[in-house]
């Protein structure tokens, strides 16, 4: 088998057209990594500068009442992921800026896609674009050509007459084609590593290795199916066109149909319905800014009883801060319910889409690719959850200061200034650990392995029943 693989590689190396195409591909792949690197640098620079600017602004805020600071709020930015050079996923679709303030959980806004007219339906020139869409096509042609040339020259019959095992032959051809794809893949990963050498952690290595394995499995499936059809069908042109048809269905047709259908099966609420439902639920709770609110009176009585005093003026604390925090906590329950529901529906949509991998291995690969690059919706939601946790802690700190802080001499009310603002930690996004991603992408990986086994089985069983001679 090794001999056949080696022969395949030797014949490819002798083929000038293929050699030219291969060199071109390697150059384009390295270029995409370099361009991705430049983009990551440019975006990171903009991110760092915006982050520092906002932080500087926050730390040097004028003196104000803590509740003033709750309304003043700040903004957090979504950092660019190091693995974006490989697969950008949903990053250009989702927003980059999130407003952090009291009384409301805002949504992330100002996506890159909304800042210009439509241009590319398949995203930017990232490695994933070439690895997912274009290299499989090259492998189809290579695998088809590999069997077709043997058939046309009559070498196939000769080899079998000489006692070559047909199963070994097709498996070797499949492995040879797969190894070609893996070679391009390895070069991509290597050039990625070279450009990001100083920043690569064990976490990123783990993700990259699985990234490599997922694509390798997919390439084996593509190569296996093409070799099987080319070997099995008498009309090799039909084998090629069938495989191209399959490529169209797998990569262009079914992901779009399935994704759109999944959104119909698990429907998200409309923006207005979502806002209305939250407003209604919010209205049932305490309203910190409405002095006539009944629930506010209840809380007032509880606090007066707790401190064993008769009026708010006798309290050793500022009731306003307690009230605002109670308002906030009720609001948090409402946001958890409604934003939680959205996350739940999105989770269901993802799961249904992942199950599409049973019929289409490309779906599993696509999910794994952007998931391992940390740029899928699941990672995006993780960012939003962390940002929301930060918002809640920030607002609680301000409300606590409002309630329990002390009024300085000469002031009429509590004020917080730069010293206080500096004591509040900035938002730092903690990337989701690689280990946490396994339960999410296990299904995709399993399905890719199943497809690879199916391709292997087809090759073995299909070859056994084929009469060449």
């Amino acid at each position: 088998m090794w001999q056949i693989i080696r022969n395949e590689w030797q014949s490819w190396m002798r083929n000038r057209t293929l050699l030219g195409i291969s060199i071109g591909f390697v150059a384009i792949l390295c270029l995409t990594i370099y361009l991705g690197y430049l983009q990551t640098e440019a975006q990171s620079e903009r991110y760092q500068s915006a982050r520092q600017h906002l932080r500087h602004q926050w730390e040097n805020n004028r003196e104000m009442h803590p509740h003033g600071a709750v309304h003043y709020g700040t903004y957090v930015f979504k950092p660019i992921n190091l693995l974006s050079s490989l697969d950008e996923g949903v990053s250009s679709i989702t927003g980059n800026v999130l407003r952090i303030e009291g009384h409301v959980q805002n949504e992330i806004i100002y996506s890159e896609a909304s800042q210009m007219q439509a241009n590319s339906k398949f995203g930017k020139l990232k490695s994933s674009l070439l690895l997912q869409y274009i290299i499989p096509l090259l492998l189809i042609f290579l695998a088809y050509q590999s069997i077709n040339s043997e058939k046309q020259s009559g070498r196939l019959k000769l080899l079998l007459l000489q006692g070559a095992n047909p199963i070994q032959l097709v498996l070797a051809k499949t492995f040879a084609v797969t190894s070609y794809g893996m070679g391009l893949l390895a070069l991509t990963i290597l050039s990625y590593a070279l450009f990001h050498l100083s920043q690569i952690s064990a976490e990123i290595w783990g993700r990259t290795i699985l990234f490599f394995c997922s694509y390798s499995l997919y390439y084996f499936i593509i190569a296996g199916f093409t070799v099987f059809l080319s070997f099995r069908l008498k009309n090799t042109s039909l084998a090629l066109t069938s495989m191209l048809g399959l490529w169209i269905i797998w990569t262009i047709f079914s992901p779009h149909i399935l994704m759109s259908s999944v959104e119909q099966w698990h429907q998200l609420p409309t923006r207005e319905a979502f806002k209305k439902a939250m407003k209604e639920d919010r209205a049932k709770g305490i309203d910190g800014h409405n002095p006539r609110d009944e629930r506010r009176k209840e809380l007032e009585e509880q606090i007066l009883a707790k401190y064993e005093v008769d009026s708010l003026s006798e309290l050793p604390i500022d009731f306003g801060g307690i009230l605002m925090q109670a308002d906030e906590e009720y609001g948090n329950e409402v946001w958890d319910k409604h934003f939680g529901y959205i996350r739940e529906v999105l989770g269901e949509q993802k799961q249904s889409y992942q199950l599409g991998g049973i019929l289409n291995p490309f779906i599993s690969l696509q999910n794994l690719s952007m998931g391992l690059a940390g740029n899928d919706n699941w990672h995006h939601q993780a960012f939003l959850v962390q940002a929301e946790t930060y918002r809640r802690n920030l607002i609680k700190t301000l409300n606590d200061e409002h309630a329990y802080g002390t009024i300085k001499e000469g002031d009429d009310y509590i004020k917080v200034g730069p010293e206080f603002f500096q004591s509040i930690e900035p938002f730092r996004y903690q990337p989701v650990p690689f280990s946490a991603t396994f339960p999410i992408y296990g299904l995709n990986l399993t399905l890719l392995i199943m497809w690879s086994l199916l391709a292997g089985l087809l090759l073995i069983l299909g070859t056994k029943n084929t009469q060449i001679l």
């Binding site: 440019a42 679709i93 020139l125 042109s237 779009h256 959104e263 949509q349």
Partner: protein, 441 residues
């Protein structure tokens, strides 16, 4: 005559090829699905707008009856006085919508990246967080919606490829070509006749699909010409690919070679060129984080409020010279309040100034994309379809401009009436609603 026979004979070739028939069927299924998807988004957005309009009307009626009954101070809001322009305008409930076009059935375009309902207040701006887009799965947005324009732009070249990939090369491989040349006289006219069959077939299918789409949302030719434009662009697009494939087929000698070249062309035009343009653009002009606008919303906004009231008054007089001899100047309590409530006009100026560089940057990106159209035809056609469907970036930019215009009008009316110490009655309230919704053409 020979060419006509070849043309007509192609039908037999076509119906005897299950692979080609299946490809056509799949294209039709995808297109019909895309048309329904477009119609669904159109109907959903229209329903949302109608629902909001109804809600606004109901709210307005409540306030209108309050004016009729002389109840100017709501029981639960003692601080409100609806006789003042400030509260009357607040309760005029002005909303502005990006009403979807029925032509959206053909292209959802960028409609899912922007909001389409906006409440107009004196504090509003076209980049407010409440103008967020409809809730959607980002992975679906990234994968791309399968609408009709997607089917046309990305599936029809593949369909054409499947329909024509073996023309001439099959005959060459089987050694029939000399015979065909003898029988037909010209190899080129024979090839043109055969190709024309599939080109016309695809154009016919497109016309039927476009007509079917028109019935889903009621696209009227007379009112928008959208139907005619979509048909025209679809023909031009098919013609572009046909020419490209024709050139490949004309010189090709084997099926696999032709297929490889055609698929290569498809990948270059549909994937590589647009993706490279996008990548280049994101390096030259990375996504804006809107820091200038955020500054205006945070720090600089407070700088305005930190100014002494009479400094703010001077700036307001500069903006609205009509208020220089306002009757409020004689009443300091009223004057202080008027300055406070009018400060939104200064904030509005600040916001507009901060938005300008953002929009200029966006415009620069758009200009760059437009400059690539001569070698980026798929992107060109994609934007043409979006334009026809009114789901193009420019349509949403117009919507944002209209929002800004309405905010400006609201601020102007508020300040002029407030500083004139105008009292609002039922008639004035109704008038406000009309004035504050009116856009200058």
């Amino acid at each position: 005559m020979k060419n006509m026979t070849t043309f007509l004979y192609e039908w037999k070739h076509f119906v005897r090829s299950p692979f080609k028939m299946l490809a056509l069927l799949l294209f039709i299924v995808a297109s019909v699905y895309g048309l329904h998807k477009g119609a669904h988004v159109f109907q959903k957005q229209r329903a949302e707008v109608e629902k909001m309009e109804q809600k606004v009307e109901e709210e307005r009626q409540i306030y209108l009856s309050a004016y009729q009954e002389g109840l100017f101070v709501p029981e639960d809001r003692p601080w409100v006085d609806m006789r003042t322009p400030l509260w009357a305008i607040e309760y005029a409930w002005v909303y502005h919508y990006k009403v979807p076009s029925p032509a959206m059935v053909y292209s959802i375009g960028q409609s899912e990246q922007y909001g389409f309902i906006k409440k107009i207040t004196r504090w509003a701006s076209p980049y407010d967080t409440d103008l967020a887009e409809e809730i959607a799965n980002p992975e679906r947005l990234q994968t791309g919606t399968l609408d009709f324009s997607f089917a046309l732009l990305f599936l029809s070249p593949l369909l054409l490829l499947v329909l024509v990939y073996n023309i001439q090369s099959m005959e060459t491989e089987q050694g029939f070509m000399p015979l065909i040349e003898v029988q037909n006289g010209s190899k080129r006219s024979w090839l043109v006749s055969r190709m024309m069959f599939y080109v016309l077939l695809l154009c016919l299918v497109n016309v039927l699909l476009i007509s079917y789409g028109a019935t889903l949302t009621g696209v009227e030719i007379a009112s928008s010409l959208a139907l005619g434009q979509v048909i025209l662009y679809s023909f031009a697009y098919v013609a572009f690919w046909s020419l490209l494939y024709f050139l490949i087929l004309q010189g090709g000698k084997s099926i696999s070679e032709n297929t490889l070249k055609m698929v290569g062309m498809y990948l270059i035009f549909a994937f590589i060129i647009p993706a490279t343009v996008s990548q280049y653009l994101s390096i030259r002009r990375p996504a804006s984080l809107m820091t200038a606008f955020l500054d205006a919303k945070l720090d600089k906004r407070w700088d305005i409020w930190d100014q002494p009231p009479y400094d703010r008054q001077a700036q307001l007089v500069e903006l609205f010279p009509e208020i220089a001899d306002s009757p409020l100047l004689r009443d300091t309590t009223k004057l202080d309040r008027a300055i406070r409530e009018s400060t939104s006009a200064l904030e509005n100026q600040l916001q507009k100034a901060s938005i300008r560089p953002v929009e200029e940057e966006n415009e620069a990106k758009n200009t760059f994309i437009k400059r690539t159209f001569w070698f980026n035809p798929v992107s060109f056609f994609q934007n043409r379809f979006n334009s026809v469907a009114q789901t193009h970036y420019d349509d949403y930019q117009n919507y944002r401009d209209e929002i800004q215009q309405l905010v400006d009008v609201q601020i102007q009316v508020l300040i002029l009436d407030m500083w004139a110490d105008k009292k609002v009655d039922e008639e004035q309230y109704v008038k406000y609603y009309e004035i504050l919704r009116k856009l200058e053409k």
